[in-house]
C-alpha cells in the first residue's frame, strides 16, 4: 500500500521540477555577473539596472501594459454585450451558430489570426503599429470574455429579472442593478483572462506590428534570436513577480465566483 502511495508523489514531484526548473534557471542567472547562462560568477544586480536604464525597453514595457489594459477593458465591454446578446437569443439554432462563430477565434492558430488580420488592416488602410496591435488584441480577447460571462448569465434565474420588472424597474435598472452585479465575477474573470492573453501574445502581434512599434514578446523574440543576453533574464525575473501577483488576484476572484478555470491558451 505504501508503495502505491509513493508513486504519485514521486511522479508529481518530477512533473513540478520539470515545470519550474526552466523558470528558476532563468531567474537564477539574472543575478550572474558572468554574462552567460552556464557559468555563475558572482552575484550582481547590474542586469536589473540595465533593464531600467534602457529607455527603449521601458517604452516597450509601457506600450505592452497600455495595450493590455486598454484591450482588456474594451474587449470586456464588447464581450459582456455579446454574452447578453447570446443569452437572450430566442432562436436556439441561431444562438448555436453565433456561439460557433464566437469560438472560431479561440481555436484558430495564432498564425491564421495574425495573417488574416494583416490582410484586413492593409486593405482597410490601418497603419501598422499601435492601432493595429490594439485592435487585434481587442478582437482576439472578445470571445474569451463571452465564454467567461455566458455561464453566469445562464445560471441566473429568469425570475430575478421578472421580479425586478414587476417591482417597477426600468430596463436600464434591470441591467445595471440586477444583471451586471450578478455576473460580475464572470466579468472580472474575463477581464483578467483578456489581460493575460494580451500580455502573453506573440504571434498575432508579430504579424500586425509595424517597424516602429513593439511589445515585450516581440522584443524578447528579436533579442533571443540574437543570442543570450542576461537582460532578458532580469526581465523574466520581473515578469515572474508580476505574474504571481496577477495569478493570486485571479485566484481570489475565481474562488469567490467558483468559475472553473477556462484558461485555454493557444
Amino acid at each position: 500500500m505504501t508503495k502505491l502511495r509513493k508513486l504519485p508523489k514521486v511522479y508529481l514531484t518530477f512533473v513540478f521540477i520539470i515545470l519550474y526548473a526552466p523558470i528558476f534557471y532563468l531567474i537564477f542567472y539574472s543575478f550572474n555577473s558572468g554574462g552567460t547562462m552556464s557559468h555563475f560568477e558572482s552575484m550582481t544586480f547590474e542586469h536589473y539596472a540595465a533593464v531600467f536604464e534602457d529607455k527603449r525597453l521601458i517604452i516597450i514595457l509601457i506600450n505592452t501594459i497600455v495595450i493590455a489594459l486598454l484591450s482588456a477593458l474594451i474587449a470586456t465591454t464588447i464581450g459582456v454585450l455579446g454574452a447578453l446578446t447570446i443569452a437572450f437569443m430566442k432562436n436556439r439554432s441561431m444562438r448555436n451558430a453565433v456561439l460557433s462563430l464566437n469560438n472560431i477565434l479561440i481555436v484558430s492558430p495564432d498564425v491564421i489570426i495574425g495573417a488574416s488580420f494583416l490582410i484586413l488592416f492593409t486593405i482597410v488602410g490601418v497603419k501598422l503599429g499601435f492601432a493595429s496591435v490594439l485592435i487585434s488584441h481587442i478582437a482576439f480577447s472578445i470571445p474569451i470574455v463571452v465564454i467567461m460571462v455566458l455561464p453566469k448569465l445562464q445560471e441566473m434565474s429568469p425570475s430575478l429579472i421578472d421580479a425586478a420588472v414587476d417591482l417597477g424597474a426600468s430596463k436600464r435598472d434591470v441591467l445595471m442593478r440586477v444583471v451586471i452585479p450578478y455576473i460580475k465575477p464572470g466579468i472580472l474573470a474575463g477581464f483578467f483572462l483578456a489581460l493575460t492573453y494580451s500580455l502573453d501574445d506573440f504571434a498575432v502581434t508579430f504579424f500586425v506590428t509595424g517597424n516602429g512599434f513593439s511589445t515585450l514578446s516581440v522584443e524578447i523574440y528579436s533579442m533571443a534570436r540574437a543570442g543570450i543576453t542576461l537582460t532578458i533574464n532580469a526581465l523574466s525575473g520581473l515578469i515572474f513577480l508580476v505574474t504571481i501577483v496577477l495569478v493570486v488576484g485571479y485566484y481570489a476572484i475565481n474562488r469567490k465566483s467558483k468559475t472553473p478555470f477556462a484558461g485555454v491558451r493557444k
Binding site: P8, Y11, L12, F16, L19, A21, P22, I23, Y25, L26, T36, M37, S38, I78, L81, G82, T85, F88, N96, V98, L101, N102, I104, L105, V107, S108, P109, V111, I112, I113, A115, S116, F117, I119, I123, A139, I142, V146, P151, K171, V174, L199, D200, A203, F206, F207, I220, Y221, A224, I228, I232, L235, S236, I239, I244, L246, V247, P260, F261, R265
Partner: protein, 271 residues
C-alpha cells in the same frame, strides 16, 4: 418578455460587428487571396504548388510533429491529472501547474536555449554521467520537448476537470463487481473522461500544427511546420497568395480536428 428582447438588441451591435469584421471577413479575405499570385492575377497556381511534393512533405512533417507533441503531452498529462485529483489541496496544486503557463511563452522558450546549450546544465549533466556532450539545440528532440513543456498545462487542465467530475461511486462499483485496477481504468475511468482528453487533444494539436516561434528559436530552420511556412510567405517572401493558400488548408485541418474532437452537446448549452 418581448420588451426585453428589443431592449438588448441595440446593445448587441458592437458584438455583431465584431463577428462580421474579425471572424467572417478575415477568413473570407484569406480564401480570396489564396486565388491570387504575386502580381495580383487570378490563378489556381497556389493550389497547384500546394499539392507539389515540397508542400506535401511539409504538411506530413507538420502533422507528424503535432502528433508527437500531442501524444507525449497526453502520456505525461493523464497521470499528472489523475494523481492531482488524489491530493489533499487539489485546487492549489492545480493552480501551481497552471502558473508556468502564465509566464510569457517567449521567456520559457528562451530558457531552453540556455538549458540545452552546448555549455548548458543538461550537457554538463550528460558529461558527468559519462554520455558526453551533445548538440541538443536545433534537433527534433529539443523541439518536441519544448513544445510539450509549453502545452502540457493545457492538456492537464481539461483532463483534471473531467476526472474531478467523475463520480467516485462508479469506481467503487467497478471494484466491487470484481474489476481490477487496469480494467477499472480502461472500462470505467477512461471512457468517462474521454471528453477531457478530447478537448486536451484539440487545444494541443491545432496550435502544434502552426507553431513557428519555437521552431525558429529551438529548432533553427531544421523543422518546418505549416506555421513557419505561413510566416515565411507573409513576412519574408511577401507572397501573400501562397501564404493564404497554406492558411486555407490549415483552417480546413482545424475544422476537421474540431469535428473529430468535438463534444456531443445536449440541449444547446455549451460549457
Amino acid at each position: 418578455m418581448n420588451n426585453k428582447k428589443t431592449s438588448f438588441s441595440f446593445s448587441s451591435v458592437p458584438y455583431i460587428l465584431w463577428i462580421a469584421l474579425f471572424v467572417i471577413v478575415p477568413i473570407a479575405l484569406v480564401v480570396r487571396y489564396s486565388f491570387f499570385d504575386l502580381s495580383g492575377h487570378f490563378t489556381f497556381n497556389n493550389y497547384q504548388s500546394f499539392f507539389s511534393s515540397i508542400y506535401f512533405k511539409l504538411t506530413i512533417n507538420s502533422f507528424w510533429y503535432a502528433f508527437l507533441i500531442t501524444f507525449f503531452s497526453l502520456v505525461f498529462a493523464y497521470p499528472t491529472a489523475y494523481f492531482l485529483t488524489k491530493t489533499k489541496h487539489k485546487q492549489l496544486w492545480l493552480l501551481l501547474i497552471i502558473i508556468p503557463s502564465w509566464i510569457n511563452l517567449l521567456l520559457k522558450t528562451y530558457a531552453f536555449i540556455g538549458l540545452f546549450g552546448l555549455y548548458g546544465p543538461i550537457n554538463a549533466f550528460l558529461k558527468m554521467i559519462g554520455i558526453g556532450e551533445h548538440q541538443l539545440l536545433f534537433t527534433d528532440f529539443s523541439f518536441v520537448f519544448v513544445a510539450v513543456y509549453i502545452f502540457i498545462p493545457f492538456m492537464i487542465l481539461p483532463i483534471f476537470n473531467s476526472l474531478d467530475k467523475l463520480n467516485p461511486a462508479l469506481i467503487d462499483a467497478a471494484r466491487d463487481l470484481g474489476a481490477g485496477a487496469w480494467t477499472t481504468f480502461r472500462r470505467v475511468i477512461l471512457p468517462l473522461t474521454m471528453n477531457g482528453v478530447k478537448s486536451g487533444i484539440q487545444v494541443v494539436f491545432i496550435p502544434s500544427l502552426s507553431l513557428f516561434m519555437i521552431t525558429r528559436l529551438i529548432a533553427g530552420n531544421k523543422v518546418m511546420t505549416l506555421g513557419t511556412a505561413i510566416e515565411q510567405q507573409f513576412l519574408v517572401t511577401q507572397n501573400w497568395g501562397m501564404g493564404s493558400t497554406i492558411a486555407v488548408f490549415l483552417i480546413l485541418f482545424m475544422f476537421i480536428i474540431m469535428w473529430f474532437t468535438g463534444q456531443k452537446e445536449k440541449g444547446g448549452t455549451k460549457r
